[in-house]
Every structure is written in C-alpha cells, then in structure tokens.
C-alpha cells in the first residue's frame, strides 16, 4: 500500500488538530480574560506559527481586525528576537500599534515552543485590555503619546523569570492595574495551553517538528485561494466611499485588481492622516481590507500564511490608512471597519450578484463616564462603561439585510440589565428604528433607537466614535441609502459623532444607529415582504 497516501491523511489530521489547538488556546483566553470586550465580544486572536513566523492556523474569533495584523506581528518579533536566540521559557510582549494590532489597548504575547531541545513553533495571542492609561480609549488624542503606555517588543518572561520592571511600569500607568496584569497572565496561560497541546500532538503523531506539515498547509491553502480567485473575472476596479471622519469627511478610495497570482487592493487616493485618533496603522488596514475580500472569495479556506498571502493590501504612506508613528490611532477601528464596504464596492463591479450593499458597518460603542471627580457635585462613585450597539447591515443578494446586526465587527451588544448594573444609567428605550433600512427590492437592515439617562439625573459624559451620521450607507443596484445615524440630547442639541461631550443634568442622550443600504428597485419588492414590514411596524 502507498505510504505516501497515509502520510497525506496524517497531514490532514494534524492540520485539523492544529485548528483544534488554536481553538482551545482562544477558549482559554476568553474564559480567563478580564476585559469586557474580550469575554462578551471575543475581541481576541490566537494562532500558531512556524519558526519562520508563518502562521499555520488561527482561531476563528469575534474580530476580523486581528486577522492579518497578528500574523504580521510575529514576523516583527522574530526580526528583533531571532528564533535561535530564544529560550524555552521566554514569553514576548508588545502593545505597539505598528507591531501589534493597531492600537495601544491590544497586547500581543508570543511564546516559543521547544521540542527535543529545539524551537518548533510559536504561539501568539492578542487581547484587548480595557485601559492603558493616557486619555483612555477614544479618538481625542492628537498623537499616540497621549493615548497611553506604549510597550515596545520585549520580554514578559525571560527564561521563566517575569520582567518585574515592565510589570511595575505597567501597573503605575494604567487605571486598573489588576485587570491589566490579569489579562497578561491570561494571554500567557493561553499560549502555554496551546504549546502543551502541540507537544502532545507531536508525540502522538511521532513527529519532530512542523516543517513539512506546515509547508503542506500553507501550500494547499494558497492553491485553494488561487483556485477561487481563478473563477473570478480578471481586471481592475475602483470604488470610493466618503465617511464622516473626526471633524472632516474622509474619502476611502480603493482599487482592486484580480490577477493570476492573487488579488491586490490599493488605497491610493484615500484622505491623509487626521489630527485625531482615528488613524490606521497599515497592518490593521490589511486586516479589514482582506476580510472584505474573504467574505465573498474563499470564505471557507482557513486563515494562514498561504491563504493570506494571495490577497495583498497596500496604502500610501501618510494616508489615513497607513499612518506612521506618532499619529494617534486609538479609535482606528472607526475607520478600519468601514473598509470591507469599500472593498465590496470594488467587487460589486465584476461580481454584481454576490455582494451585499453598504451597511452601518460602524459599531456604535459609546463610552459613558461620570461620577465624583468628573462631574462637579456628583454623589456617585466614578464610573466608566463601554457598551456596544449595532446598526443595520446592507441588503444581500436575494435577501434583506440583517436588522441591528454588527458587520464586519463580530462584537456582541451589551445587555441593558448588565449596563444598568455596572453604571448608574437608565436605558429608557432600545428598540428597532422603523423606516431606517434603505429601501429596495431587498431592504437594508434597520438600525435602533436608544435613550440613555443618569439614574439620579446627574450630568454625565459620553465619548463617541460614531460614523455614518453625515454619510449614510448607500444602496447598490438602485437600492436606497439607509437612514443616517444620529446622536443628540433629547429635546436638545445634536451631538458630534466623535469625541467627548457632556449630557446635562436631567438630560437624555438619544442614539439612533444607521440602517443598512437597500438593493435593487423598491418597486420590485415582493408584496408579501411589504406586508411583513407593515405588520412589523417597520414602514
């Protein structure tokens, strides 16, 4: 019998096993994390890499923002700390936006794995830590220096000994040192869990290393992606989308080229770096842009160095999508999560039937702050809470968009009862926003309307990172735009989409999230669907 054939089955089983190992790594991270966005929203990533820094498997988690960003990060680490110089009990760390996943809140931990005395793999994990000092999570910084503590790539553990100086600096610079330290422990522990499982697996399969299996995984995935791409028409298409930005509109311009050897996405023509914290480091641009492609091309091919390398993303230096240090980047997701809509706008041209319309895309995540020390005369404990809410998604080929559903972000919304138990707030209203879905043969998903007040009628502050207020999600193929987002004080003034503002004592903040764009002509809408919308009270 052909032993080569059996080897192929073994390689597949090993591949399946690696996917299970990183899933287990991610589960461990989610379970032990402190940060709300991690455990409620799965704002993490976890993966295993070969010793050349090529990603072999990555857990499917809540955020596409980490997809290639973390993959690239391990390469940066290995440039600074060559694998030959690493020790079995070393653990490396950074939160550098340009070497990690785009803002200071994301900490990436890298752990080498040794088998038979030599390095065989690296595990990496990234997790969002709630507070890193500075101004706090928000778009108001003018330079990265204001946004918190920046830890360059370095040792968290060196030969098993914790880097106490680093931990002390961390504790002295963040608002909740125990949570931050707890999250670093949890990153370390999840890599350890992955490493232990990998070593067991190597023994079970009787393997010395991952070199050959890794080569097969990468090569197979690359070929599968190229085969998917080969089914598409070749050519170059350009698309632009204007969004609100911080204080002036931002143009996101994309040209997408489908060729023999992959897909190239370039953002030439995009607006320049902005003076506030919505700038995007290139790795994060690459993550969201390639996610946009992968939603419709090869979405069943696992993420690894092979499948990722055939979608190449570039942006001109100095543009808002390739911002260099020391640009402020804290709220880089506000721009990053708009990128799939732009990429899909390009793909719409050759693939008309397979692409959803623009959706709210922005994840509406107000940060509420208040209490003593912040609000004069306040009698309540200081509080800060970051809640998340979605708008409508774009209408899809043959289907309406999803009502109040996050896309491209995978973040879950925050329950009303949890918010009210975590902060002295009352959410008087949280309901669908009728009429907000863009009309069309297929309707955009509707957004929602929410009213927030202080439980004791005190003034409170809100830090906002909202878009789609001036530039609503557009329809495709004759579909109408979704309703723009709005944020205002009830019976009072409109608020800005970005930045921190105060809601006066006794006031309510109203947030209306955007509806998704429609698809096709409204006149062609099925009468049954119209009747359903009327029954729902959506029209």
């Amino acid at each position: 019998m052909n032993t080569g054939a059996l080897d192929r089955i073994h390689t597949q089983l090993l591949w399946d096993r690696l996917l299970a190992v990183v899933e287990e790594q991610a589960q461990t991270l989610v379970r032990t994390a402190f940060s709300t966005t991690v455990r409620e929203a799965g704002d993490i990533s976890a993966g295993v890499f070969d010793t050349r820094g090529r990603m072999l498997a990555q857990a499917v988690t809540g955020t596409p923002g980490h997809v290639n960003a973390m993959a690239a990060s391990v390469g940066f680490f290995l440039n600074k700390f060559p694998v030959a110089e690493l020790h079995p009990e070393d653990v490396l760390l950074t939160n550098d936006p340009w070497h990690g996943t785009g803002h200071l809140n994301d900490f990436t931990v890298v752990t080498p794995v040794f088998h038979g005395g030599r390095p065989v793999a690296l595990f990496a994990a990234t997790s969002h830590i709630a507070d890193v000092g500075g101004l706090g999570f928000g778009p108001d910084g003018r330079q990265v220096f204001e946004e918190g503590l920046n830890i360059p790539m370095g040792y968290l553990y060196r030969a098993g000994k914790p880097n106490e100086v680093l931990l002390e600096i961390l504790r002295a610079n963040v608002r909740d040192p125990r949570a931050a330290e707890g999250d670093l422990h949890s990153l370390t522990a999840c890599n350890r869990a992955g490493a232990d499982r990998l070593l067991e697996t190597l023994d079970e399969f009787g393997m010395d290393d991952l070199d050959e299996a890794g080569r097969v995984i990468i090569e197979n995935s690359r070929r599968a992606m190229l085969a998917e791409i080969a089914k598409l028409p070749q050519g170059c298409w350009t698309h632009g989308m204007r969004i609100d930005g911080y204080d002036e509109a931002v143009d996101l311009v994309c040209s997408l080229t489908i060729g023999d050897d992959g897909i190239d996405v370039d953002f030439s023509g995009t607006s320049p770096v902005c003076g506030h914290g919505i700038n995007v480091p290139l790795t994060y641009t690459q993550a969201y842009a390639s996610f946009g492609v992968r939603c419709v091309v090869g979405n069943d091919v696992p993420n690894n160095a092979g499948s990722l390398e055939v979608v190449r993303v570039t942006a001109p230096e100095g543009s808002i999508l390739n911002a260099a240090r020391p640009a402020a980047v804290s709220a880089r997701h506000a721009i990053g999560q708009m990128l799939p809509d732009v990429v899909l706008g390009c793909l719409e041209q050759p693939l008309g039937g397979r692409v959803p319309s623009e959706g709210a895309s922005c994840l509406f995540g107000p940060v509420f702050l208040g209490g003593r020390g912040l609000i004069p005369g306040s009698v309540v404990e200081p509080f800060v809470i970051n809640a998340f809410y979605a708008g409508g998604s774009g209408a899809r080929p043959g289907k309406d968009g999803l009502d109040c559903t996050a896309f491209p972000s995978g973040v879950r919304s925050t329950p009303v009862e949890i918010t009210e138990n975590s902060a002295p707030l009352i959410i008087w209203k949280k309901e669908y926003r009728p009429g907000s879905g863009g009309e069309g043969e297929f309707r955009g998903g509707v957004g929602q309307i929410m009213e927030f007040a202080h439980a004791r009628g005190e003034a409170f502050m809100v830090s906002k990172m909202f878009d789609r207020i001036k530039h609503p999600p557009r329809g495709r193929q004759g579909g109408q735009s979704g309703a723009p987002a709005r944020v205002y004080v009830k019976d009072g003034p409109e608020l800005r989409g970005m930045g921190r503002e105060t809601i006066p004592a006794g006031g309510r903040m109203v947030l209306e999230t955007a509806g998704g764009g429609g698809r096709g002509n409204a006149a062609d809408r099925d009468s049954q669907k119209v009747a359903e919308d009327i029954e729902k009270g959506f029209l």
Binding site: M1, N220, R396, K430, Y432
Partner: protein
C-alpha cells in the same frame, strides 16, 4: 417503568423487582405520541406478566417540547414587556454566529414583533419602581391578543427577577380578564439577569406550554384509565425528575431529557465501575454528544440552545436558561456524509444521510458516502449480523460511494479513503471534546469513557486513543440507554436567583433568607414526588472576580450563613479558581451573580457493578472477519462474537468485533474487552 420519546423511536423499559429488565422500541407516533407510549407500556407488561397496578413508578422523558420549538408548532404566543424594550427578544446579541458568511440568517424569534406588546412600567436594577405599572397600557394589549387568537402569554419586564411585583400584578389582572390564557412569568421560569436570555426562555416556555400541558394531562388520564395508580414523573434536562404539575408549568425544563437520561446512565455506570473521571460519548445517526462526568456528577450549566440550525454553531439556536446537563453536540454520526473540500481535505458532516435514504450501504438509494459506509469497508460492521440480520448491507454500494466522492478525487485507494473518513470524524469529535473541556476549564486528560448509541461502540476505542482514554465501558442495553438512565435519576428540583453580592460586603442575612426561600420553593416541588424521603440539599453560586466576565460554579456549604461566610465563600471560590486556572488573583474583590439550590430525593434504582471478576477466555468466536488495521496498513483477522452469547467474566483480546442488534463494538488490536456481572463490556488498553 421508564418511557423515552425520541425523534424516531419511543423506548420503554420496565425494571422488575428481580431479574432482567424488559425493554421495547417502537416508532414514535408523531400525531399522537401517547399511542406509542401506551403500546410500548402494554408490550413490556405483557413480556413481564405484570399488571398495571404492579408498577410502582412511571418516569417519562420526551422530545415533544423540543420538536415543537424546532418545527415552530407551538401556540400563538404574545410577550408583554417593558415599553421601549420590546425588540430585545429579536435583537439578541446583535452579532453574527458565523464571521465569514454574509448570507446567514439569525434565528427567528418565537414571538413576532406585532405580538410583542409594550407595557408602561419600569424598575431599576434594585427592583425599585421608576414608573408604576400602567393598567391602561395593559388594556390596549387585550384586543391584540383576541384578534390574533393568542393562547399563551409570556410576561417579562426589565429587572423583574429582582422584584416580580409588576409581573405578578399583570398576570393576576390578565388571568381575571382572560381566564383561559396560559401565562408564563419570566421572573418564575428564569429569575436571572440578562434580559435577552430570560425573555427567550420565558417565550419558549410559553410557546410549548399549552401543547405540553394538554399532552401530559391526557397521558396521565389514560394511564389512570388503564389502572396505573403510581406516581408519574417527568425527566428534566438537568438530570432530575419532576412532577406532572411542575412539568406542565415549566415544560421548557423538559427539552433535553433524552440526552440527560444518557448522561445519567453514564454517571451510574461510572459510579458502579468506580471511574471518577469519565467522558460520556453518545453517537447516533446524525450527531455525537459528549459530556464530562467528574466524581459521578455530570457537568451542569444553565444555558442551552435549542435548534442550532447552522452546523450546530453556537448562537444559531434559541437560547434557554434552564438547568441542563452540559454537553457538546456536533454533526458527527453514522449517517454523516463525507466529501472532499476545496483544499483537498476530507470533510465529514454535519450533513447527514439520516434514516432516509441512509448510508449507501443500506441500499435504499443513498449514493453519498456516510461514516457507516466507511465502517463497513473497514470491516468494522459484520454484514451477516447487522440489525439482527434484518437487512443485508450493500458492500458494493458503500464502495462505489466512497470511491466516487473520496478515493478518486484524492487519489487514494478505497480502503485508505474509508480510513480517512473514519479518522476525520473521530478527530472532529476529539476536537469538540477538547474545545468543550477548555471552555469549561476542565481537564480532559486521563479519563475513562462510557459509550452508547448506535455508532459509539464502533468509534469509542479510536476516539479514546486520541483523547488518552484508557478504559471504555459499553453498557448493556445501550440501545435504550436514555430510558435506563431515567430509572436512575433522582426526584430533584433546582431553583436559581440572581442577587449580586460582593463578598467583601456580603449581606449574610439576605443570602440566608434567600436560601430558605429557595429551599421552600424546591421542597414544594420535590415533596410532590417524594413525600417522606429524606432530602439532600446542594447549594452553588456563580462567582467571579469583580471585573471578570465569566463566572465559575462554586459549591457552597449547606448551613446557616453568618458574618464569616464572606471569607468562607471566597476560600471556596479561590480553591475552585485555582483548580481551573492554576492561580488566584490577589487583592481583587469577588462577587456572586447567581445562587442555586438543588433538593433531591434518593435515587429509585441503582446499578451495581462488579468488574473485577476472574477473567476467562471467551472461547471460540462465532466467525472471523478481516478488519483494517491503521498501524499495519493491512487487514487483520478479527474474531467476531455475538454479545448475547457472552457471559460474565469472559475476556476477548483485540482485534475483535462484538456484535448485537443495534451496534458493533470494535476491540482494536492492543485492546481487550471483558464482560462484567451486569453485561457491560469493559474495553481496556493494554499498557
């Protein structure tokens, strides 16, 4: 007597005071499920020669509630909820359960928007009234209920789990004006924080309640007519028994009763064999279910999703918060179909050939290769004795299916292709078990396994090898395992309350009062089924570090609580935390979110087990059959035994097959199997 209604079969098991159990298996009668129940009961009585009046207890489990939810065949249901929040039920978590598929649809809510009726009222997080209940807003709901023929109503207000007064007053008012409505209070069925899950649970309960109440009452009446005068209990998803009255009020607690019965069986088999760390493995035609059983107690939780429509993916079903035996279910069964994906890899499931057309080897027109087809080609199923010889397996059809879908595209020979299918499905199950254990912070290492269900004994040893399992028990009567499990379940009831308490400032009087209240509530239920038994009480709390999102379940002492209990609870939490994560976190306060109390009467029956019999050879096999050997890549001659011919103490060395009507146990090379006093097969890996 135990009766289990499943999707395909209704199983009945009668346990006489002495001697072997009587069992029967009938097709479920979907229109009138009671028909098969009564027919099955009649059949086992006849086998045993006993009369209805001789039966001391009837225990019933059913998937009817689950089916009604999956097929959306429940009552026209409305939800009365806090004005301004009527869409919480449908908005759910506002996320997508599959990141890369833009075409997914979110689960449809059981109550459509036009029947989610706003009521003007509002409580704050402590249960204080911010807006009083406005009866006028209730009145405007009445015409809507009438117009849409609403039969069942769920009432669920924000924070009412802390103070149910508005819900109670609404129910009282409504039951006076519309006495025929079935009314479910969210604060009763699920008094827990997080509005979406609570409302989802309440609506699911309301949705199935009229149907289940009618069914249960009718069945009880029919049993009485037939001369049964014994207690009638229902099996719950949490693994305990409950009364007809409670089941008719909270039918949502019955949804996973069949699988719970299986887990109880595994637990009792484990107890009998003294296996304190067990993986329960149930593999049928469509899915596999895995459950961790430590110290003879299955892992339990309070969350379950009914009807995961998208590849069994988390988030694609309807969440209900009820006491459940926690298990992971994946699309891996004998009928799971294999294919080659775009990356040239073998993929198995979650699509299943089901029972129609079934695997290709069933010869009923199936052309795509299923796991069973691979098992046939590898020599694991003995064609001559399959299904008691009732129908012949079509080896050629299996070969054609595997060749066409797998061997040819992958350029493998047929046997290796079949081996690939089998390995992939086993790997999928192993991966699911590992991720499940990681999610719950449990250790999978060094476990024993209890395997039952039609396909499990074929795959148990190999799955065990992948997971480092040393011993595998294949229980007797594995084919009616859930029903046997029912006989082993205690009369028990679990009560939960969410009251957030920081342990540094624990209000021990409040918690003590809460526990008394919960005990009274549980006792009222348990006493109906066990009027005079001495009851055992267990208390748990869901505890976390302040700021952390994941609570862990911590066992609490059963005693009056005083000022020192903040420290005692913290110590208990830290011990549990350290066991899970290997460390504790100094200086961070600890908080309890929810408290649970379970009251249980002693178990009705028990399994004793004697495995350490002197072993003797099983003698000559009935026949031999070539069996694929992965290590040697060749065929080995496996000895084939009929399970019915084996007696206690007999030992069989692998490679061997032990066949029975419902399944075949594969004893690979390097393993041996012994028969214990109860007829269980004990597979052991040779060191």
């Amino acid at each position: 007597m135990a009766v289990d209604i499943g999707g395909t079969f209704t199983d009945v098991v009668l346990e006489p005071p002495v001697g072997p159990r009587y069992t029967t298996k009938l097709l479920t009668t979907h229109g009138h499920p009671g028909e098969a129940v009564l027919a099955g009961i009649g059949a086992v009585l006849e086998q045993s020669g006993l009369q209805a009046g001789d039966v001391g207890l009837i225990i019933h489990g059913t998937t009817l509630a689950t089916n009604a939810l999956i097929e959306r065949q429940g009552a026209a249901t409305a939800l009365l909820t806090t004005a301004g929040h009527r869409d919480a039920l449908e908005m759910a978590h506002e996320d997508r359960f599959e990141q890369y598929d833009v075409m997914i649809d979110r689960p449809k809510p059981l109550v459509p928007r036009h029947l989610r009726l706003p009521v003007s009222e509002r409580l704050d997080r402590d249960g204080n009234v911010l807006l009083p209940l406005d009866v006028a807003s209730l009145e405007s709901a009445l015409p809507v209920l009438d117009e849409h023929g609403v039969e069942s109503v769920a009432i669920g207000y924000l924070h009412a789990f802390v103070n149910p007064e508005h819900e109670l007053r609404t129910a009282e008012w409504l039951s006076q004006l519309r006495p025929n409505l079935s009314i479910t209070l969210a604060s009763e069925v699920c008094p827990e924080i997080r509005e979406f899950e609570r409302l989802s649970t309440a609506c699911a309960n309301a949705y199935v309640r009229p149907l289940m109440a009618r069914y249960l009452e009718r069945l009880a009446a029919e049993l009485t007519d037939q001369g049964f005068d014994c207690p009638f209990f229902l099996m719950t998803s949490g693994g305990g028994l409950t009364t007809l009255e409670t089941a008719a009020k909270f039918p949502i607690r019955l949804v996973e009763s069949g699988p719970a019965g299986g887990a109880i069986l595994a637990q009792e088999v484990a107890r009998g064999a003294g296996m304190d760390r067990v993986l329960s493995f149930d593999m049928g035609g469509t899915t596999a279910k895995l459950c961790l059983v430590d110290d003879f107690e299955p892992l339990t939780s309070r969350s379950f999703e009914v009807d995961r429509v998208y590849r069994f993916r988390k988030g694609s079903g309807l969440p209900v918060r009820i006491p459940v035996i926690e298990m992971v279910e994946i699309g891996a069964g004998g009928g799971s179909i294999a294919r080659v994906d775009t990356l040239g890899r073998i993929q198995v499931g979650p699509k299943s050939a089901g029972s129609e057309p079934g695997p290709a080897s069933y010869g009923r027109g199936g052309t795509r290769p299923a796991v069973t087809d691979a098992d046939v080609l590898l020599g694991r199923i003995c064609a001559d004795t399959f299904a008691g010889g009732a129908f012949a397996l079509d080896n050629d059809a299996a070969l054609r299916a595997v060749d066409e879908a797998i061997a040819r595209p992958m350029a493998l020979d047929s046997e290796l292709a079949a081996f690939g299918i089998s390995e992939v499905v086993d790997e999928n199950m192993a991966a699911a078990a590992r991720a499940h254990a990681a999610e719950f912070g449990m250790d999978l290492g060094a476990r024993d396994m209890v395997a039952f269900g039609g396909a499990a004994p074929l795959h148990a040893a190999r799955l065990g090898e992948k997971l480092g399992v040393r011993r595998v028990v294949i229980p007797a009567e594995a084919g009616v395992g859930s029903a046997v499990g029912f006989l082993l379940a205690p009369v028990a009831f679990e009560v939960v309350r969410s009251r957030r308490q920081r342990l540094s400032e624990l209000d021990c009087e409040l918690v003590d009062g809460l526990m008394r209240e919960m005990r009274d509530e549980a006792e009222a239920v348990v006493r109906l089924g066990a009027p005079s038994a001495s009851l055992s009480e267990r208390r748990h709390a869901y505890i976390r570090y302040v700021g952390q999102g994941h609570e862990i379940l911590v066992s609490l002492p059963v005693e009056p609580y005083g000022p020192t209990h903040g420290e005692i609870f913290r110590a208990a939490f830290e011990a549990a935390y350290r066991q899970l994560y290997g460390r504790v976190i100094e200086g961070v306060d600890v908080e309890v979110l929810s408290w649970t109390l379970t009251l249980a009467a002693p178990v009705q029956a028990s399994l004793e087990c004697g495995i350490d019999l002197p072993r003797r050879s099983a003698g000559q096999p009935a026949m031999t059959q070539p069996l694929f050997d992965p290590a040697g890549e060749a065929r080995l001659e496996a000895r084939v035994y009929l399970r019915a011919d084996l007696s206690e103490g007999q030992n069989i060395d692998g490679p061997a097959l032990i066949t029975e009507d419902q399944t075949t146990t594969v004893v690979p090379k390097g393993w041996c199997a012994a028969v214990d006093t109860l007829g269980h097969l004990m597979l052991e890996r040779r060191p």
